[in-house]
Assembly symmetry: C2
Homo-oligomer: 590 residues x 2
Amino acid sequence: MPEFNAPLRDMRFVLHEVFEAPALWARLPALADHVDADTADAILEEAAKVTGQLIAPLNRSGDEEGAQWQAGQVSTPKGFKSAYDTYIEGGWVGLSGNPEFGGLGMPKMLAVQFEEMLYGANSSFALYSALTSGACLAIDAHASHDLKSTYLPPLYEGRWAGSMCLTEAHSGTDLGIIRTRAEPQADGSFNISGSKIFITGGDQDLTENIIHLVLAKLPDAPAGPRGISLFLVPKVLVNADGSLGHGNAVSCGSIEHKMGIKASATCVINFDAARGWLIGEANKGLAAMFTMMNYERLSIGIQGIGCAEASYQNARTYARERLQSRAPTGAVAPDKMADPIIVHPDVRRMLLSMKAMTEGGRAFASYVGQQLDLAKFSTEPQEQQEASALVALLTPVAKAFFTDTGFDSCVLGQQVFGGHGYIREWGQEQLVRDVRIAQIYEGTNGIQALDLLGRKVLANGGVTLRMFTAQIRDFATQPGKPYASELLEAVQRLEDLSDWLQARARVNPNETGAACVEYLHLFGYVAYAWLWARMADVAQRSLSADPAFYSAKLATARFYFNRLLPRTLSLEQAIRAGSDSLFELDAANF
Amino acid sequence: MPEFNAPLRDMRFVLHEVFEAPALWARLPALADHVDADTADAILEEAAKVTGQLIAPLNRSGDEEGAQWQAGQVSTPKGFKSAYDTYIEGGWVGLSGNPEFGGLGMPKMLAVQFEEMLYGANSSFALYSALTSGACLAIDAHASHDLKSTYLPPLYEGRWAGSMCLTEAHSGTDLGIIRTRAEPQADGSFNISGSKIFITGGDQDLTENIIHLVLAKLPDAPAGPRGISLFLVPKVLVNADGSLGHGNAVSCGSIEHKMGIKASATCVINFDAARGWLIGEANKGLAAMFTMMNYERLSIGIQGIGCAEASYQNARTYARERLQSRAPTGAVAPDKMADPIIVHPDVRRMLLSMKAMTEGGRAFASYVGQQLDLAKFSTEPQEQQEASALVALLTPVAKAFFTDTGFDSCVLGQQVFGGHGYIREWGQEQLVRDVRIAQIYEGTNGIQALDLLGRKVLANGGVTLRMFTAQIRDFATQPGKPYASELLEAVQRLEDLSDWLQARARVNPNETGAACVEYLHLFGYVAYAWLWARMADVAQRSLSADPAFYSAKLATARFYFNRLLPRTLSLEQAIRAGSDSLFELDAANF
């Protein structure tokens, strides 16, 4: 049975050493009083225990048993309810929630580490509270004070859970064509009718109530995405005093049978004139929902990192223990029947690829967390606005690049095991199945790429992009920084391509879609190069303090620059090939 | 429920038009009399019916039910036995078998098309006879006339099946350390004792008998791979008249629970002083087994193509039917609520990537089939030897490149479906799970890459490689060939890198392992470039005869050269980075 141990040393490295988060927290009034380096470390250590000892042991059994649906009720696998109760007692669901309504108000930079542990330990379990955190964010940002004070406290406590109801059978990426309706009632509430699919945690037996955030159309709403409103629809109606009342007209029609995340219930949820309340303004529901969506996108990105870290830990252990063949340069364990497979160059290539991408991803997630904290807590308007813009730019990269490369890492981690990687008991194949969904849900990675290139880069003429690349240039042009010339070359490539695409897309609207996936990957590799250079910079300076730890960082950075960053060359060529060769073929001749 | 339709038109294109197989068959005496273009087409059409109508419909249900093990007996999923009986009546198992013992003696170029259909229809089902064909090949090549005449006819008929027993719990890649023993008996037979794992079709309820080909060590055999012998061990002993006698001391201890190919029984097989007979010479079993292994390696490569083709067919249908959002250049189906997603550049990129790699793979498999036919049937010694050398060179490329890119294609085909791709009922996720094993079994793709670069390229100073690249140069330097300059540049890159690696590997034995996976991929992309140029050449000349079909070939070739071949740039950079950055890290510091 595979174990999961949160990579605490690596997380502290990123948090304290690379980003010097405690110094940032100290200067932000909303954080200064209740988080410092020691608090953060204590939280991370406790989180490591909860995820490693309580939640990870349910990962395999949860996959075997799966969520079950019977007579309209979902039951989670054995052990989930009891573990969930212990988990919420720790206050984890409200970790970065609004303290006014019972949240703990912790910085996102810390929360992203916790999320990584949670997904690494058990992606299915993680999802039951991930949606709650996102729903809280949307409620906190857009709902009335009444709704907030009624719903946020039990949600932060984890006694209630949240869900996100967007997709319908005919409408996934294209939300403009949803059919769910909302009829205004005399008391200011709405009757919601329609059927939603793919609702993660749409039903379960872990919480007393489930608060669905539902996209629906008001009568006479304009067609398309500008006619969508957001509603809060509880599974169980809530009395004025906050106690639970009657059941609402919300039912779970079935659950999906899926490739992975089998312990997470993916539900069909039917609303039959269910009572709901408007969140934010009428017809502006999509924007309000995006508060939740953007949160979930980063969170799902982090699923990619968490699963990759889990796969890496297993593969590393196996590679050190499995004896097979001799090292090319001669036996290293002549007393044994064969050498551990970690002596083989190709096994090392696989492990280092996983390690470099996972640690690069962790640093990137922490950087996005830092920008989220600045966007939320900074008292300087310009800093706050720049951080918001960077979050908008980087969220699609985080979601898609973490999960595309996280999937690749899980596949590599399975490959290290040879035939044993294909067998269920070792857990490596489950990670591949579980992480695969992260490339698809919360907006497919193709949609993330379109969002990045079309909306976040080209639509504002590359202004935000330049804000980001300026940080990279600023680092690389300081004296004595490692990999400075490689970094400047990489960032130049990204800027040149962006300019080139800006001109091309003006002439042909197909160019954005033709280039976007490769562009997002190229963006990701350049961003990781910056983060690896920053990590190497810290490691270089700290080397003597802990040579084993810091020299591993330096070696991984070198591997990244030598073997992974060159992928940008091919990506550039594919982008520059343009859209023409995609459109020579009639749909009928495929 | 997904359908599978054999791509007959594409297969005929490759067979008749690109490789002009009928002309080759006509000049080879062993083939001239019993196969021509019409026979081949009739066989392919019949094969399409059997695979599409009989075998494909059992793919989903076979996955849901899986192979079962109870009290030492394996049962295959519902419908498998009856379909298998019908299947073997068609004589398919002996399609390219030796006519002297009841095989049909058909060319391998034809058989590879059939294998692709079989894997595309149902990989689990395909495996039950794929191992038989490989076992026949090894028996035919190395066993005594007595063993051949006893065992080959019922194997070719499919009444009996074959299995390949190599792996033991502690010994997979490293066969030198196997522990299974063979004790010589007075009557010339051997008592085989040991336990083998991961035995595909090691037990089942489809055939009367199972003929295990087992690697074992004779008493006093030399240590390592030079002390391994190959034995034929039937599940049921065979009387002198060919009828079935007593059960042998062979038992199935359990079956594995796997990520995919669930309807294929992967068995632990225990031999307890089971009677067996030596195949070939003592201590030369590995070489004899490689006759089977090489067959299986190509076959498993073709699994990659078959699954990718199935995934492509489903994704194409879905992309034409699923309505979602509008084309970037304006609505193409203004009367519908949205456009079919095939209008979106990124969906086309995914489909074209699949199409280009699958058709490139089919052409490559056919080329290897052609060389196998020349190696077996040519009457000119030089042609025969060159073909044998090319087969040795290209087999690891076929196995690993077909399956690595086949896996990628299946992942893309799942992605086209968005959330629906993750749901079991659509079948796309099963293809991902089923094809994944093909990168692992029959020698992991890392081992294939080592075999290619170390044994097949560097060990003979690039002589065979030059034989292959000379064919590419020969094509590209003929007047008027399409993509000639791109091809010459690509082949130069492959040759230069090979020379560079030759020099490096002499100095540092780690260089081969450090470069081999990227080298194999680069080799694959260059080979496909040649094949796409050849296909484009034919299509150009035939365009007016069927513009829709041939223009699709030209468009796909252009896509391949524009968007996929540039991957060689990054692969080259990664190769040239060398092995140093793989060895900076101590095993303890990973």
